[in-house]
Amino acid sequence: MSAHAHSEDGHSADGHDFAHPMSVQTLLAVFFALTVLTVITVAQASFDFGAFEVATVMFIATIKAVLVMAFFMHMLADKPFNAIIFIGSFVFVGLFVIFTLGDSMMTSHSFEPRVVELAPAVAEPTITTVDGAP
């Protein structure tokens, strides 16, 4: 394991053997980018992109997420393994959401339009019966 491979040379006097400080400029730049993107998201909400609305919003959000992960979370400087497991988790989220959402989409036609008994505005349910009995 790499940890051990490194560890052979013990802990040297200067501690920079495994600390990778971020430069202040990078941090500020990233923060600036994030703020701009936030403004953009809020702004775009006032235009109607119709079907693409969700897509655009999620796209911008994802850019922001990538920025945060890459720099604030030091993914670039970090061990690739850590990045892999974190990104990998989204694969499973994808599986989960796609299957579940897909199924509910495909079956939603069979959902029973409900009568809200609690809402006084609603008149009594009018239930008639099936025809086509033998």
């Binding site: 008994e117 009018t126 019966t129 025809d131 086509g132 009995a133 033998p134």
Partner: protein, 379 residues
């Protein structure tokens, strides 16, 4: 060679089944195919299991040595062999999947012009809806004609399972689920004499299907179970499927159950409904507290309601509690009763009220007495 694979398990399977009942009777078009597939898989399993178990015990016997003996060989691996036994089984798996999926699609796609029967599941019973306001807990269908069930649940998830048809489908509240099947065995009728004897012996009690093995109308039947756990009486949430030979026969039956016969008193009809339409599941007659209040102290009694108020259970109250059960719930009970909106004709409700009068301690005594006399004479 594959033809052999197909036939062998079939033949053997049939012998197997004939020896001791491995399956219930095959009564639908699905059954034969399903059972064939079942035995096909089973025999493939046997094909794998015998050698595995054989090796297991043979090796134990052959290679068991005293402590300290070295193994005869130390082969670490044999890639071709391992690949072989990783890949070969997959062919069987694909076969199973394809056959299974194909006949599943048949079971899933309802054929055109199937007879449509509405099914409503509730805790803990079934109501089959034959249209035109005809409701009955028994499922009566036509032989050799596809029947489609349009299923709803009024409370929790239930599941319709007819073993003889090899068909099952959950009934999910908030959704319509559908299933269909085509019975190919008509259920025969018992002789008038036998029926009369049974009716006499049963004597107005709730009909004991398990005991008689035929319906109150004298038909042999197939069991219909609820297979999705649904609470207290899940295990008694059963009804029967009767397969009629002819449309006339079926129509006659529907006509007979459709409404109160002219010669029957409201009380007697009300009692019949009480037993048939699921009231008995939650409302006792002997005062014991079940899911709902007992009918012993229902009619004419002052009931404290969940909202704190008190109300006298008169005709109107009972009618309302049947139609909008969640509105005025008696204190100490859950609002779980399904609405019988449109499932009971006015005459039905009137009959039930009449019947409740007879069983309630608080009802007018005179009415009670006459009511009981009549019911007893009727049965």
């Amino acid at each position: 060679m594959f033809a052999l694979m197909n036939n062998m398990p079939n033949l053997l399977g049939d012998q197997f089944a004939s020896k001791f009942a491995w399956f219930p009777e095959q009564a639908s078009t699905f059954a034969a195919e399903n059972d064939w597939l079942f035995f096909f898989i089973t025999w493939i399993c046997v094909l794998f299991f015998i050698p595995i178990a054989g090796c297991l015990f043979y090796f134990c016997w052959k290679y068991s040595k005293p402590k300290g003996q070295k193994a005869e060989s130390n082969t670490a691996h044999n890639t071709p062999l391992e690949l072989a036994w990783s890949i070969l089984p997959s062919f069987f798996l694909v076969a199973m999947f394809v056959m299974g999926a194909r006949s599943y699609l048949d079971q899933r796609t309802v054929p055109e012009g199937a007879n449509n029967i509405g099914l409503k599941a509730f805790k803990w019973g079934w109501t089959m809806d034959y249209g035109k306001g005809v409701m009955n807990p028994e499922l009566h269908i036509l032989v050799d004609e596809p029947t489609k069930l349009s299923m709803r649940s009024s409370d929790v998830i239930h599941s319709v399972f007819v073993p003889a048809f090899r068909a099952k489908k959950d009934v999910v509240p908030g959704r319509y689920n559908y299933m269909w099947f085509e019975a190919d065995v008509a259920s025969e009728q018992v002789s008038e004499a036998e029926l009369a004897a049974a009716t006499k012996e049963n004597d107005g009690e709730v009909w004991d299907y398990d005991k008689w093995q035929f319906t109150p109308d004298g038909y042999k039947f197939f069991d219909l179970y609820c297979t999705e756990y649904c609470g207290k009486n899940h295990s008694v949430m059963q009804t029967v499927v009767v397969v009629h030979k002819t449309v006339e026969d079926l129509d006659a039956w529907i006509k007979q159950v459709s409404k109160r016969p002219v010669d029957q008193t409201p009380e007697a009809w009300g009692e019949k409904l009480y037993n048939q339409r699921g009231c008995a599941g939650c409302h006792s007659l002997d005062g014991s507290k079940r899911v709902g209040p007992s009918f012993k102290e229902s009619y004419g009694n002052k009931r404290p309601l969940a909202d704190g108020t008190t109300i006298t259970a008169d005709e109107d109250y009972i009618r309302n509690s049947i139609l909008y059960p969640k509105k005025q719930v008696v204190a100490g009970y859950q609002p779980v009763m399904p609405s019988y909106q449109g499932q009971l004709s006015d005459d039905d409700i009137a009959s039930i009220i009449a019947y409740l009068k007879t069983v309630s301690d608080y009802g007018p005594k005179a009415a009670a007495n006459t009511g009981e006399e009549q019911t007893s004479t009727e049965e």
